[in-house]
Structure formats: structure tokens, C-alpha cells
């Protein structure tokens, strides 16, 4: 079995060959050739655009095969990286097992397939390239040669689009065939070339760039069309002199003619002079329906590519379903590779130690990222194209807020920023570059923070309605008591939140750390009503917003969603989307858009405060009253994702309530100290609800005001006043109601009790109670109650909910229950 040297085994040094070409439109530095030097090996490989390369993959025995389309340097992030854009091929083993039968025959040992799957990310890290390989296209009639000695040679006969195998179209075939003559491996003795690699013309940035790269990072490359490089000619010659290749080409097979896939055909329609274009289009705008138009409006990619070098190595890329890929990748990265080398074609490349370390450290994280971004990937190429259009429209001052436009907003921002700031790179692609995903998103959010306002002016229909304003200004409070009442109102925003310092600090730290780390997180805050959950979170956000303005923390976007203000759970998506981008959509659509945007969804539970961090991470603060909500209601899947960050707000103690009241009434002498204490103690004993506490105090001021009609009174709320207010608030209305009910009603209640005692049940029919009632009335000397009267009494009590009664159509047979405890009834009746 062939083994390919990877960076795990050998150290490789990558360096550019030739002058960098500045792509004026994209501000990338593109190159024609790259030199790979393997440590401990006397050869170095020169890889040129248009050649077929092996790329480090999950399986060391079967590295990915691709055709190199572009080489460029990405310096969007401080250490510049070498990137490459490729057209992938897939090996048969990379085709999902469930689809392998579609081939209908045994695959050749060295057969690969043109990977016709535009959604696949073609932007890779150039330093994952292992070496060159030879790919020979076969005409549909040709038989795939088997048992070849040269394992380095691969054959492509069919294309695979994740659904079907199809024969290569004639144009594609020609295109693949042609470069074979030119593209040849470039192998040179170590001596001269290695020096040239270290020549001062190679900027230090490149060396920096090498350090950071993770193996899976990928990048889109830009070719410089106008730069003629010598190596090309040389390669051509070399390839031409390879006799093996031509032999292989002659071997042909006749099997499996398939239909030509539309996309392939489409990409092939262009004339030979524009041969590189199809590749371009494929990666750029598969989703676009009118590529021609796009190209017109676009400044960069397509124009560029048309001019791009005529070497059209088409590089296909393996494609395994996303989830699978991740698992596999994990396994394989850990497997050391045996260092079987193809001496001629692929020189071993030495891996730098830094690379290894970093890769390992980031492996897990990277995989997580990869799973969460399928939508993004699929759409990326169309998005890119749309970006261009957007840019133009923006430039023209056309600020139509169109759904489609908005949808791609985040991506648009990526390219904006990258094209502005970066010289020779395009934004990294998520497919193979887990690490870069975060950066990708980072930039997207960074920009999205600023853009929505400037890009989308509010359309008039968004005008917010308003209650008409009053003709007369509201009066300001005159007396001390009125002022106190105003301050005690629940709506009054206190300057500080006393007694919640610890909780404040905890939440603040949590959110701040997430902001600083650019990570996401979730926190669950619970507590009984009126314990200051919402107030504390608001306070935290306010502080963070101030900090963000002062640049202490990265800026962030804040979205608040209240579950109770939604008509149904699905509306949460609409709300979030609307607050995030200002667009309106149906619930389902909004969910999709959001999934696209975050790949994370807000939980539609109770009160949810989503705090959307600028860094595209999502910090979710959820507030609810239930302590064990995660365990009780949420599904395991949800609750496990909710994480462990919980915070429980304990009910206020009496001293805390007292402190709250004092802080509200600061400098306002309206209450006696004892009066405050009484209220605080009463409330703390019952619920610890601060709202209730404030309300009682407010009521006390009213009582005070009412009782002191004399203008010269000091107007201080005394214990008596607050006592009255407390009584009013906590007194049982049932007992009051029973005490105040009419004589007949009371005797009916007695009759119920008597009947219950007689039968030993908690339920009786009206008829039974009626006979008891008649007997009671006789005993107490009341006039004989008729059935109709008693029925009226019963239904009155039922409407007060003192009794629970059946619908009255049952007449005498309706069943009656007490809705109050028997003791309460007895107590209330005894008082008289």
C-alpha cells in the first residue's frame, strides 16, 4: 500500500517561487509556483498552478487529490498564511458507502472521480499540500487500467456529484487532458533551489504565515493572470517526457456511460479561451442563476479568472458527508502515518513542530465548528457573488433593503473587510478550516454590528406607533409623600441595585469573559418573582455597553426576548431576527435565516435574554422563575447544551428589603424607620418579592395621605399605616367574603359543612344540602327557604368561587364542593 509522507512525519518548508503578483482588485498577493522542501531529503518539489496535487487528508494512505487552481497569500490575520484554491477529486473510498453501489462496477485501484460538487470548499491551506500526483483522464470508452506499477498515477473517468456518477464531458475531458502535457512535477536537486527558497526576496511574513496554519485550514486562492512564470514551460516539458503517462492514457474503458450532469455541462460551455472560467464559476456562483450577469457586475473574481492562466488543472476534492468527515478526521489525525514515499512525484515534506502542536490543541474545537456550519458552507459561493453585487449596489448608493440582500449580509461583510484590509487573501473557508470559522464569523459580526444601520435605512412602514402624547404635561409630585410614592413605584429605575452585588458581579464576569474570549455561552438564571433577576441583567448589560463604548470590552449586540411577550414559541425567531437585522420573516423562515446566521438557536423558554456578542458567538442569558426548569421541562438535549452556568436568585431577606426601600427613599423623610422594617419583615416572611414590598409601601403612603387630611400634618408614614397596608394586601378575601355574605348564604355554607360531616365526603349533591339547609333554617327560626331561593344562593356562592358547582342544568342533582378549606369557613362563620 502506498504511503504518503505528511507533515506529521516529516517537516516541510513551504515557500513561494517567483514574484508575488498583486491582484489589484482583491488585494491579494498571488503566486504561480510554490516550492516544498522536505527536511532530510535532498529534493524539493515545485508545485505550479494547474498541477495535480495530493493534499493531506484523514487517511494517510489515501490523501486527497486535487488540481491546484490558485496560490495566494492570506494576510487578513496578522500572520499571513499560504492558501490555495483547488478543484477536488474524490477517491472511491471517499464516496459514502451507501452510494458506492451507484458506480455499478468495481472501481479501478487508482481511479478517482472529478468531484462535481460546488458546495464543497475549495479553499485550502497551501501547506497541507503533500506533493504532486499524476492524473490521467480517460475517455468514456477507455478501461480503467489496473495493476499499474506506478501508484502515483491516478485515472479520472467519471465525475461524482454526491448523487450520481457521470462520464466526464468532452470539454472537461479535453481540459483535463491538456494540462497533462504541461503540468509536470518539478523536481530539482536540493542545492540551488533550497537556497533560493531562503533568499531575502521571501518576505518574513511568509515564514510567519507558516507557523500558524492548521492542517485543515483552507483558503481560496487567486491567480495572477498576467504574470507569466517560467516554471510552467518547464513543467510542460517534463510532463511531456513522461512516457508512462501517455501509455496509461491509451488504456481506456468502455463501461458506464452516464448522463452528463447539468452543472458540468454548464461549466463546460465556455470556449477554450476561457477555459478556466468554468472552474471559477463553479466555485463562485453555483447558486447564481445568471452567471453572465454576475460577471458583469462583479469587479473581481470572474474578471480576474477569465484572464487567469490557461492552465486549467481541475482539482476535485473529496467529499464525505459533513458529520462523517468529522468523526473520521478525528480518528485519522491521531494515527501516525508510515512514511512510504513516492520518490519521483511526491517528495516528502517536513512538518514544522509548531504546526503539530497547534493542530492538536485545536483539533477538538475545530471539529465542533465544522459541524455547526453546514448551511454557511453550502451557500458560500453564492454568497460571495452576492457580496460583490452588494458592494456595487452600495457603491451606487442603492440601498434597497431586499430580503435576499439582507440574508447574505454577514457574508457580505466578510468580503468587505477582507478586500479592504487584506492584501493577498480571501476569507478563509470553513469546510476544511475549523479554526478559521471563528475568525470568519468574527469578522462577519464585527461588521454586521455597524452595517445594519447604515445599509438599511428604515422604510416608512417600520415607523413605530405611539400613543398620542398628552396635551397637558404631567404634574410633578408636590409633597414628600408623592415624591416617595414616585420613587417607590416599581417602574422607577434605581441608581443602583442594592443587595444584588454578588449576582451582578457573577453575571457581569460571565458575560464579560465570553465577550473577551470571543466564545459563546449560556447562563440560566432562576428565582422567584420579584427578586431582581431582570433588573440585575439589565444593569449588567448597561454596564457592559458603557464598557464597550470605552473599548474595555469588544462591542456587542444586545437582543432581549421575553417569552411572555410572544404569542407562540416560534415567534422568538421572528423577534430575534427582527432585532438583529431589522427584517421581517415568517417564523419558519426566520428560523432558517437564524440557523444560517448562528447555527445556534435561542431557546424558546420563558424569558430569554439573548445577548449577541459581536464575535458571532452567542451569549444566551435565560431568565425564568423555575429553579429546576432545565431538568423538568427541557429536553435532555437542550438542557445539556444549556450548560452548567446556573444562577439562582434567592428571595430577599428582610434586611435586604429594608435596604432596598431605604436606598429608594434616600434623602426623603417619608417613612418612619419602624414602618419600613415592618413592611420588610412581613414581605420577607411571605415571599421576599421586592415588587410586593414596594407596592405595600406605596399603598401605605396613600393611606397616610388619606388619613391626614390636615395640611399641617408632618406626613410621615407610621407603623399603623404600613400595618393597614400589609393587612389589605395579605388579608384573605375568602374569609372577608364569607363574613359579608347574606344570612341565607351563610346558613347554606353551614349546611354544606353539616352534610360533609354527615356523609364523610367532601362532595354532596344539592338535594342533600338542601334538606340540611331546611333543617338548619328551622332551627334558627329563619323563614322556610324555597328550593328556587336556595338554588340562587348556591349559584351566587358558586360565582364567587367559594363553592365549586356543576352546571346548573343538573338541577337538584348537581354536586357541590367547597373551594375554601372547611376550617376557614368555620372560622369566618364563628366570628359573628
Amino acid at each position: 500500500m502506498a504511503h504518503y509522507p505528511t507533515r506529521l512525519k516529516t517537516r516541510k518548508t513551504y515557500s513561494w517561487v517567483g514574484r508575488p503578483l498583486l491582484d489589484r482588485k482583491l488585494h491579494y498577493q498571488t503566486y504561480r509556483e510554490m516550492c516544498v522542501k522536505t527536511e532530510g531529503c535532498s529534493t524539493e518539489i515545485h508545485i505550479q498552478i494547474g498541477q495535480f496535487v495530493l493534499i493531506e487528508g484523514d487517511d494517510d494512505e489515501n490523501p486527497y487529490v486535487a488540481k491546484l487552481l490558485e496560490l495566494f497569500e492570506d494576510d487578513s490575520d496578522p500572520p499571513p498564511k499560504k492558501r490555495a484554491r483547488v478543484q477536488w477529486f474524490v477517491r472511491f473510498c471517499e464516496v459514502p458507502a451507501c452510494k458506492q453501489h451507484l458506480l455499478g462496477r468495481k472501481p479501478g485501484a487508482q481511479e478517482i472521480f472529478w468531484y462535481d460538487y460546488p458546495a464543497c470548499d475549495s479553499n485550502i491551506n497551501a501547506e497541507t499540500i503533500i506533493g504532486l500526483v499524476r492524473v490521467i483522464p480517460l475517455a468514456p470508452k477507455d478501461v480503467v487500467p489496473t495493476n499499474l506499477k506506478n501508484e502515483k498515477t491516478l485515472f479520472v473517468k467519471l465525475s461524482w456529484n454526491e448523487k450520481k456518477f457521470r462520464p466526464l464531458s468532452s470539454k472537461l475531458f479535453a481540459e483535463l487532458n491538456k494540462p497533462q502535457e504541461r503540468a509536470a512535477k518539478c523536481q530539482k536537486p536540493m542545492g540551488a533551489k533550497s537556497k533560493s527558497a531562503e533568499t531575502p526576496s521571501w518576505t518574513p511574513e511568509e515564514h510567519v504565515a507558516k507557523r500558524i496554519e492548521s492542517r485543515h485550514s483552507a483558503c481560496k486562492s487567486r491567480q495572477t493572470p498576467t504574470h507569466p512564470l517560467t516554471p510552467r514551460a518547464r513543467k510542460r516539458l517534463e510532463l511531456g517526457s513522461n512516457p508512462q503517462m501517455s501509455q496509461q492514457t491509451s488504456c481506456a474503458s468502455l463501461d458506464s456511460p452516464g448522463r452528463i450532469k447539468r452543472k458540468v455541462a454548464f461549466s463546460e460551455i465556455t470556449s477554450p479561451s476561457k477555459r478556466s472560467q468554468p472552474d471559477k464559476l463553479q466555485t463562485l456562483s453555483p447558486a447564481l442563476k445568471a452567471p453572465e450577469k454576475t460577471r458583469e457586475t462583479e469587479l473581481s473574481y470572474t474578471e480576474n479568472d477569465k484572464k487567469a492562466s490557461p492552465e486549467r488543472c481541475v482539482i476535485l476534492r473529496t467529499r464525505i458527508p459533513a458529520s462523517k468527515t468529522i468523526d473520521i478526521r478525528e480518528e485519522r489525525t491521531l494515527t501516525p502515518i508510515s512514511g512510504g514515499q513516492r520518490s519521483s512525484v511526491v517528495p516528502s515534506v517536513i512538518l514544522k513542530p509548531e504546526n503539530i502542536k497547534k493542530r492538536d490543541a485545536k483539533e477538538v474545537e475545530a471539529q465542533n465548528e465544522a459541524t455547526s456550519t453546514p448551511h454557511r458552507i453550502r451557500r458560500k459561493s453564492s454568497v460571495l457573488t452576492m457580496n460583490r453585487i452588494r458592494q456595487q449596489l452600495q457603491f451606487l448608493g442603492n440601498s434597497k433593503s431586499d430580503q435576499e440582500e439582507k440574508e447574505i449580509l454577514p457574508a457580505a461583510e466578510i468580503s468587505d473587510s477582507s478586500s479592504d484590509e487584506e492584501e493577498a487573501s480571501t476569507p478563509p473557508r470553513p469546510r476544511r478550516t475549523p479554526r478559521t470559522v471563528s475568525r470568519n464569523l468574527q469578522s462577519s459580526l464585527k461588521s454586521s454590528l455597524h452595517t445594519p444601520t447604515k445599509l438599511k435605512p428604515r422604510t416608512p412602514r417600520c415607523a413605530t406607533p405611539q400613543i398620542r402624547s398628552r396635551s397637558l404635561a404631567a404634574q410633578e409630585p408636590a409633597s414628600v409623600l408623592e415624591k416617595a410614592r414616585l420613587r417607590l413605584h416599581v417602574s422607577a429605575v434605581p441608581e443602583s441595585l442594592p443587595c444584588r452585588e454578588q449576582e451582578f458581579q457573577d453575571i457581569y464576569n460571565f458575560v464579560e469573559s465570553k465577550l473577551l474570549d470571543h466564545t459563546g455561552g449560556c447562563m440560566y438564571i432562576s428565582g422567584v418573582p420579584g427578586t431582581g433577576k431582570t433588573a440585575t441583567v439589565h444593569e449588567v448589560i448597561r454596564c457592559l455597553q458603557q464598557a464597550a463604548q470605552a473599548n474595555d470590552v469588544p462591542p456587542f449586540q444586545y437582543i432581549e426576548v421575553n417569552g411572555m411577550k410572544l404569542t407562540e414559541p416560534h415567534q422568538v425567531y421572528v423577534q430575534i431576527l427582527q432585532k438583529l437585522t431589522g427584517q421581517k420573516a415568517t417564523a419558519n423562515h426566520a428560523a432558517e435565516l437564524l440557523a444560517k446566521r448562528f447555527c445556534t438557536r435561542g431557546s424558546p423558554q420563558e424569558t430569554t435574554v439573548l445577548l449577541v456578542d459581536e464575535e458571532a458567538r452567542l451569549v444566551v442569558l435565560t431568565i425564568a422563575n423555575t429553579m429546576d426548569l432545565p431538568e423538568r421541562i427541557m429536553m435532555n438535549r437542550v438542557s445539556s447544551r444549556l450548560g452548567l452556568t446556573r444562577m439562582s436568585f434567592q428571595p430577599y431577606t428582610y434586611s435586604q428589603l429594608q435596604q432596598i426601600l431605604r436606598s429608594r427613599l434616600k434623602h426623603l423623610k417619608a417613612f418612619e424607620d419602624d414602618a419600613i422594617q415592618l413592611v420588610a419583615r412581613k414581605v420577607a416572611a411571605l415571599s421576599g418579592d421586592a415588587r410586593r414590598c414596594l407596592d405595600i409601601c406605596r399603598r401605605a403612603t396613600e393611606i397616610c395621605e388619606f388619613s391626614q387630611q390636615k395640611p399641617d400634618s408632618p406626613g410621615l408614614v407610621t407603623i399603623a399605616h404600613s400595618m393597614e397596608a400589609v393587612d389589605e394586601m395579605f388579608s384573605s378575601s375568602y374569609i372577608m367574603a364569607i363574613k359579608n355574605s347574606s344570612v341565607l348564604e351563610q346558613s347554606f355554607l353551614r349546611a354544606i359543612l353539616a352534610e360533609f360531616r354527615r356523609s364523610g365526603l367532601e362532595e354532596a349533591t344539592f338535594q342533600q344540602i338542601y334538606s340540611q339547609h331546611v333543617a338548619l333554617c328551622r332551627m334558627e327560626g329563619l323563614p322556610y327557604p324555597t328550593m328556587s331561593e336556595t338554588m340562587a344562593v348556591c349559584s351566587r356562592l358558586g360565582s364567587c368561587r367559594l363553592l365549586l358547582v356543576e352546571p346548573s342544568r343538573n338541577d337538584m342533582l348537581l354536586r357541590v364542593r367547597l373551594n375554601v378549606s372547611q376550617d376557614d369557613v368555620l372560622y369566618a362563620l364563628k366570628e359573628e
Binding site: R461, A463, T464, P465, Q466, I467, R468, S469, R470, S471, L472, A473, A474, Q475, P477, E482, R485, L486, H489, V490, S491, A492, M564, K565, L566, T567, E568, Q571, V574, Q575, E702, F706, S733, M736, A737, N740, S741, S742, V743, L744, Q767, Y770, S771, V774, L782, P783, P785, T786, M787, S788, E789, V793, R796, S799, C800, R801, L802, D811, M812, L813
Partner: protein, 425 residues
């Protein structure tokens, strides 16, 4: 001459009386807002006079409410009040009066928006939202796009309410009649949001819920003194009579009995209305007898009345059922059992009751069912035999006996049979 004079007198009386009746009926039926206002005041007066209820309480409630509303209107303070009490205890009256008083204040009337909702009309949040939007005249703001989806409406309204602040926005008073029904709405979204807004510094809102649960108000008498009556002499005479009546012992007894039954103002109105209807030109003054008869009419047992109108056969069937109830302890019976019981009685006392054929008895039985004096245990299904359908009697023993006492021309044997099922032995 004298006859002419008396005639004109009686003519005047008739006019006056019809006027009195009109005024009083209006008052009893709550048709004009004026009567509402009057009603509230009278409540206090009555309460004070009868001294049966802490009088201050009512007035303080009222003052508290109007004070609260005033504060919302003037200071822009958000509040919420829940007024609870049994039906007919004057909650709506209280609110209407308080609002009326509020609107009379000049600076307020221009400033306050009112939203009236009723739980019986706005049966879900969706309808309620539309109604709120309509009553706030917000639909003009959005132009043609008035009512979108429920969710849109909610966010629209919330946004509208949120935009305001305490100082500049116009206060809105929400009055939710039949408040308890709102609480049955799904998730109580509307209530949550109204209360939430009333607790935060947004548009000042006073939410007033009315419900008939609990809290009692008591009053007893509302006998009428038409204040500005055209015929002063008649008015004086009428008032004197009312004064005399209120001191009459039998009248007080009637009122006490009525009060014992219910402390509802409306039932009192009902009583007075019945008494008022007996006032005619020939009988210009209300008397104690009028009131007593009205009271009897009010407390009449409706089922006993029905029994009075039954035929002897039907009475016999009811008595048979009563006996069956006694024997089998409230177990349900069917027609066949009743018929057998009836047959036993007829065979012994053949001379007193004609021995009807079975179909005739069946017809009588069905008539009783139609009158809902007996009730089938289950729904009648087509194929079950009627004779064997289980039934229950919806009359109490005491009711039957009382009705028999008053039943005209009841054969003695039947009456005896009613007292004891074994009387024929």
C-alpha cells in the same frame, strides 16, 4: 263641582304616578348614567342609614379608586386595581362613577384615553388586541395595514405602549370587565403585558379589573325620593308614605328577609319594581301589602308552581315516584316501576281515581319529563325501551308535600297516599 275637582285630582294623580313609575323604573334598570351616579350615592346613604355595614369602607374604596385614577391621569403614575365583589354589588357602577368624576376634571378629560374591554366580548387575546388598537385609534397610524397576524399586533401594540414615557405620554386607562375571564386566556399574555407595562416606566396605564368574585357590599333599601318632582304636593305625599313604609314593621320584616337571602342591589330593585307595578291611580300609594306580595312573588318556588298545574294523574305519578325514592333510597326508577306502584294504589282505592290505561299513564309520564320534573339518567338512545329508561325525580319530598297542600281539589285518598305509602293497608 266637587266631582269635577276629584276627577282632575285623579287625573293629576295618574300623570304623577306614571311619572313616578318612569323615574323609578329608570333608576331600577340602570339605564341612564345619571341613575348610575345616583345609585352610588344612594348606596352610601343607605349604608349609612341602615348602619349594617361599615359605611366608611365603601366611601373610602370609592375615594381610593378615584384618587388612583386621578393620579394616573395627572401625575402619569401607573397603577393597577382589582375590584372584586359578587354580582350586583355595584362594581361597574363604582367604576363608571369614578371615571365620570375623573372626566369632569377639566385638565384630565383631554388627557386620558380609555379602553374598555369585556371578558364576555373579547374572548381571546387576539380579539382583545384588535379592540385595544381600535379604541386607542392606533389603526390610523398604520394606515391600510391595520391588522396583521396576532403576533404582529402584539408587538405592534407593545411597541406603541413602550414608546411613551411618564411625562409626555397620554395616560391610558384599561378597564377590563369580567376580568376573571381574561385570566382564562392562553398564557395570560395580555394580562402579563398590561401589568408589566404598568410596572415599568412606560406609558402610564391604569388597569382596572372588574370581577364578581368576592368582596361584599351591602345595602338594603332603596326607596325613592324623586328629588325635583314637578308636582311638589304629590312628591311630598309620596315621600311621606315612603317614610311611613320604612318604619312599618312588616315592611322591615320583608326587607330583612330579602336582605337575608341576598345582599344584591339588583334583587332589591326587582322587589321594588314588582311593588311599584301595583301602584295605580286607584291605589296611588305603595303599601306594606304590596311589598309583601312582591316579596312572595320573588321567593316563590318555581317548581311548586308547576306542580300546582299538574293533573291528578300526574300528581299520582309523582307521589308514586316519591314512594319509590323512599323505598329504594334515591335509586333511579323507570316507568314500569312507577306504573306498578300506581296500579297498587288504584286497585286499593279504585273509587277515588279512575284506572287509566297504560298508554295514557305513559303520556302523563312523558309530560312530566318535558316539564323537567323528572330527568333521565342517560341520554335517550333510539333503541332503548321507554318504559325501562332510568329516571330521577327532581323534586324534594318537602316540595311535593307543600305543593299538595295547596293543590286545588286534591282527592283525600291521594293526599293520604302521599303521606304514607302504607296508608291503604
Amino acid at each position: 263641582m266637587s266631582s269635577r275637582k276629584s276627577k282632575s285630582n285623579s287625573l293629576i294623580h295618574t300623570e304623577c304616578l306614571s311619572q313616578v313609575q318612569r323615574i323609578l323604573r329608570e333608576r331600577f334598570c340602570h339605564q341612564s348614567p345619571h341613575s348610575n351616579l345616583f345609585g352610588v350615592q344612594v348606596q352610601y346613604k343607605t349604608i349609612q342609614r341602615l348602619g349594617q355595614v361599615p359605611r366608611g369602607r365603601e366611601e373610602r374604596k370609592f375615594l381610593h379608586l378615584s384618587e388612583l385614577l386621578k393620579r394616573t391621569a395627572v401625575h402619569g403614575e401607573s397603577n393597577s386595581v382589582l375590584i372584586i365583589g359578587p354580582r350586583g354589588s355595584g362594581k361597574t357602577m363604582l367604576i363608571n362613577h369614578a371615571l365620570k368624576e375623573l372626566m369632569e376634571i377639566e385638565e384630565v378629560s383631554e388627557n386620558v384615553l380609555q379602553v374598555h374591554l369585556n371578558g364576555l366580548l373579547q374572548i381571546n387575546d387576539k380579539i382583545a388586541l384588535k379592540e385595544i388598537t381600535r379604541q386607542l385609534n392606533l389603526e390610523n397610524v398604520v394606515g391600510d395595514k391595520v391588522f396583521g397576524s396576532f403576533a404582529e399586533n402584539l408587538s405592534f401594540l407593545l411597541e406603541a405602549l413602550k414608546k411613551g414615557d411618564r411625562i409626555s405620554s397620554c395616560p391610558v386607562i384599561f378597564i377590563l370587565d369580567e376580568f376573571d375571564l381574561f385570566a382564562y386566556h392562553k398564557n395570560q399574555t395580555l394580562l402579563y403585558n398590561l401589568f408589566d407595562i404598568s410596572q415599568s416606566a412606560q406609558t402610564p396605564i391604569a388597569v382596572i379589573g372588574l370581577t364578581c368574585r368576592l368582596y361584599v357590599k351591602i345595602f338594603k333599601e332603596q326607596l325613592s325620593l324623586p328629588a325635583e318632582f314637578p308636582d311638589k304636593v304629590f312628591a311630598e305625599k309620596w315621600n311621606e308614605n315612603v317614610q311611613y313604609l320604612s318604619e312599618d314593621r312588616s315592611v322591615q320584616e320583608v326587607l330583612q328577609k330579602h336582605f337575608n337571602i341576598s345582599k344584591n342591589l339588583r334583587s332589591l330593585h326587582m322587589l321594588l319594581m314588582l311593588a311599584l307595578n301595583r301602584v295605580t291611580a286607584s291605589h296611588p300609594c305603595m303599601t306594606a301589602v304590596d311589598l309583601m306580595e312582591a316579596s312572595q312573588l320573588c321567593s316563590m318556588d318555581s317548581k311548586a308552581n308547576i306542580v300546582h298545574g299538574l293533573s291528578v294523574l300526574e300528581i299520582c305519578l309523582i307521589i308514586a315516584m316519591k314512594h319509590l325514592n323512599d323505598i329504594y333510597e334515591e335509586e333511579p326508577f323507570n316507568f314500569q316501576m312507577v306504573y306498578n306502584e300506581f296500579q297498587k294504589f288504584v286497585q286499593r282505592k279504585a273509587h277515588s281515581v279512575y284506572n287509566f290505561e297504560k298508554p295514557v299513564v305513559m303520556k302523563a309520564f312523558e309530560h312530566l319529563q318535558q316539564l323537567e320534573l323528572i330527568k333521565p339518567m342517560e341520554r335517550t338512545s333510539g333503541n332503548s325501551q321507554r318504559e325501562y329508561q332510568l329516571m330521577k325525580l327532581l323534586l324534594d319530598n318537602t316540595q311535593i308535600m307543600n305543593a299538595l297542600q295547596k293543590y286545588p281539589n286534591c282527592p283525600t285518598d291521594v293526599r293520604q297516599w302521599a303521606t304514607s305509602s302504607l296508608s291503604w293497608l
